[in-house]
């Protein structure tokens, strides 16, 4: 998929009442899954909506009979590819859950280096298996993405509700700045701080700027992200190339922009 909405037929197979839901994790901090348990106020309501059949972090019972699979984390080892293919075969709806799954997340920062050096730096000469950190969709198709590091629980609940009732899923196409302005925050640039809000996809309700912290782009690019405008803005406000690049490459969502940027720097 391309970040747009899945065709309605993808939920036709899903019974409208209490679909069987499974959670899986690849290489991750398990934070996105935890966001579900961490939502005490509405957790019970959420649980009444779905039937959780697999959630290793919370339960011992497991079942391979599920309709919706939430896959968290990025792929960094061969066995994870096999697990992912098995999940794809079973699930009617596969959700790439969080920025690790959607873009590789912070894990993909290791792809900047020679893999041999990466292993030696941490494990010395001991053998350890690891590959590049890659998003889920490098291996299987995903029907839906839920962006964010971490995902925003309100959005997860909305998406799940929409799947259950068979509604189309919409992602905001506009940038974080729109939400930030609606919240009447003081702009970080006016406080002398860098912010990726102008080019990052909204949907988090400007989580970081609401707390007077600059956005680092965890949700990836907005539909019409304009990198050259962003570069200009950062330069005008006195921020170095390094500061922009650190934010562009942090979560993997701006991968192609980083390549562009590096080319431009040469």
């Amino acid at each position: 998929m391309t970040g747009s909405t899945p065709k309605p037929k993808t939920y036709l197979g899903v019974p409208v009442s209490r679909p069987r839901v499974a959670f899986f994790e690849l290489s991750s901090c398990e934070g996105c899954q935890l966001q579900i348990v961490n939502n005490e106020a509405t957790l019970l309501e959420f649980l009444s909506l779905v039937h959780v059949v697999n959630f290793r972090e919370a339960m011992t019972e497991k079942s391979d009979d599920y309709e919706i699979a939430f896959v968290e984390g990025s792929v960094t080892r061969r066995d994870e590819i096999e697990l992912l293919r098995r999940i794809r075969d079973q699930a009617k709806v596969l959700v790439a859950f969080g920025s690790c799954a959607c873009f590789g997340g912070v894990n993909q920062l290791k792809n900047r280096f020679d893999p041999g050096w990466v292993k030696r730096e941490v494990y010395g000469d001991a053998p350890v298996e690891t590959d590049r950190a890659q998003p889920v969709e490098d291996f299987v198709s995903a029907d839906l993405r839920i962006y964010g590091c971490p995902v925003r629980k309100e959005e997860v609940e909305r998406v799940v509700t929409d799947i259950v009732i068979g509604k189309e899923i919409h992602y905001p196409k506009y940038p974080v700045c729109m939400e930030c302005k609606a919240n009447e925050n003081i702009c970080l640039f006016d406080l002398g701080e860098p912010c990726m809000g102008p080019i990052t996809r909204a949907g988090c309700d400007a989580w970081c700027p609401n707390n007077r912290a600059g956005c680092w782009g965890c949700r990836g690019p907005a539909d019409a992200a304009n990198l050259s405008e962003m570069k200009k803005l950062m330069k005008e406000r006195g921020f170095s190339d390094e500061i922009l690049l650190d934010r562009l490459e942090c979560f993997g969502g701006f991968g192609k922009h980083v390549d562009e940027y590096r080319k431009g720097q040469r």
Partner: protein, 424 residues
């Protein structure tokens, strides 16, 4: 001795991350009792190299979703120590308060959602939603308070937004702190009920003499920075943490192992409790004695009880911290940062034990080396040795396979391991 027993738990559930238990007894001989870690490493220590100092706390919090606040604070402390910065009194208090609320959140999550189902004889907390709704509502109430408090002080309950090198990007409103204080006083009753619940559970009777490592309290129960001690009498400064952790690579685990005076040691709530009992708040001390926990306890299953005791401690101390904050005028939220070349270590007691972050910087404040030593990786060797001892002790008593299996899993869960964190 039992003649034959084969247990193979592929991915222990209700723990964070991926680990396996393998037990085999053949013809009356213990062939193996193994705790294996199969989690995929993510290589934070490598991919941070080259990054500017401000990336460290922001990215390192992502080592772990459960204790992201602890990682962020350890990372910030390491950077501040490297740059020779001293947090203000106000920043110290707010950080400790934030830390306390993460401890409460994490301990309650573990006690109710991960540990309790074993004692209740269910595979997860979900059946209890129907059979014991008041118990679940209570757990949710405590967790919600703790998480709301983390939102209020850290900006976000997971991967906090306001915590930065030098202080905070933004301070909580005093009226929100006052509201938090009221809710904290109200939650003590829920913690007492939690204690009654755990008193009704029978904690497995198992001990193995163990060395316990933690921060050393001076004047108060320690959470952020200070000297390091072990119950075998070792004492080191924070900067010399490597002499305390002695990490090495083993074949059965993608996480490293640690040792100190013996072949393994333990960190966590029980270690802190054993080493710093005198500094607990009176209510916490009283509760521990009521639950039959006294220092020094060598029963790893008692870590559950130590977590409960600490939950009471952090709630009691948090109300005091808030009182002090409310009585003072808020000053500057954030100090300016001037990077400099050098090395810094940050040691922080996170829910599962002592955590160290260490960075080396060049003169522009870019990271040249990074090392993170995680509580659970320090515990893995100890879990392994406990497991061997447990299986031998219980096999002699001719216990059923399924009982040994359950006790082994409960042992692992008692440590509340955070495996993806330990591999990072």
């Amino acid at each position: 001795m039992k003649l034959n027993c084969n247990i193979d738990v592929h991915h222990v559930t209700r723990v964070e991350g991926h680990g396996n238990i393998r037990i085999s007894i053949q013809d009356g001989e213990l062939k193996e009792a193994k705790w294996e870690i199969v989690e995929t490493p993510r290589f934070f220590e490598a991919f941070l190299v080259g990054k500017k100092w401000d990336n460290a706390p922001w990215i390192c919090g992502r080592i772990c979703g459960i204790c992201s606040i602890g990682h962020t604070l350890a990372s910030i402390r390491a950077v501040e120590n490297a740059f020779g910065m001293q947090p203000t009194d106000q920043t110290r208090k707010l950080r400790l308060l934030l830390k306390h609320m993460e401890t409460l959140q994490s301990h309650v999550l573990h006690l109710y959602f991960l540990a309790a189902p074993d004692f209740a004889g269910t595979g997860s907390v979900f059946p209890l939603i129907e059979s014991a709704p008041d118990v679940i509502a209570r757990a949710a109430r405590i967790k919600l308070l703790a998480n709301d408090a983390c939102d209020c002080i850290g900006g976000r309950r997971m991967h906090p937004t306001r915590t930065v090198v030098g202080g905070f990007t933004m301070l909580p409103a005093k009226k929100d702190l006052a509201g938090l204080r009221d809710r904290l006083s109200g939650i003590m009753g829920d913690l007492e009920k939690t204690a009654e619940l755990f008193k009704s559970f029978s904690i497995p009777d198992f001990t193995r003499e163990t060395e316990y490592v933690s921060l050393k309290g001076s004047g108060s129960y320690p959470f952020i920075g200070g000297d390091l001690i072990s119950s075998d009498g070792v004492q080191k400064s924070e900067a010399r943490y490597k002499e305390m952790t002695n990490e090495y690579v083993v074949e059965q685990s993608t996480s490293k192992w640690s040792r100190l005076s013996r072949k393994s040691f333990a960190v966590g709530a029980l270690a802190r409790f054993n080493n710093n009992f005198e500094f607990l708040q009176p209510a916490a001390k009283e509760l521990s004695l009521g639950l039959g926990l006294k220092p020094v306890s060598h029963n790893p299953y008692m870590n559950n009880i130590a977590q409960l005791v600490e939950s009471v401690h952090v709630v009691a101390e948090s109300t005091l911290i808030i009182d002090e904050l409310l009585d003072s005028e808020f000053s500057e939220t954030r100090q300016p940062v001037v990077p400099k070349e050098g090395m810094g270590v940050g040691a922080v007691e996170v829910p599962r034990g002592i955590l160290y972050h260490c960075y080396e910087f060049n003169e522009t404040g870019n990271i040249t080396r990074c090392d993170c030593v995680i509580p659970t990786s320090q515990n893995h060797a100890n879990i392994q040795h406990d497991l061997e001892e447990l299986v031998s002790q219980y096999a002699v008593r001719r216990m059923k396979d399924s009982d040994i299996d359950l006790l082994a899993q409960m042992l692992i869960r008692a440590y509340d391991p955070c495996i993806s964190c330990s591999v990072h």
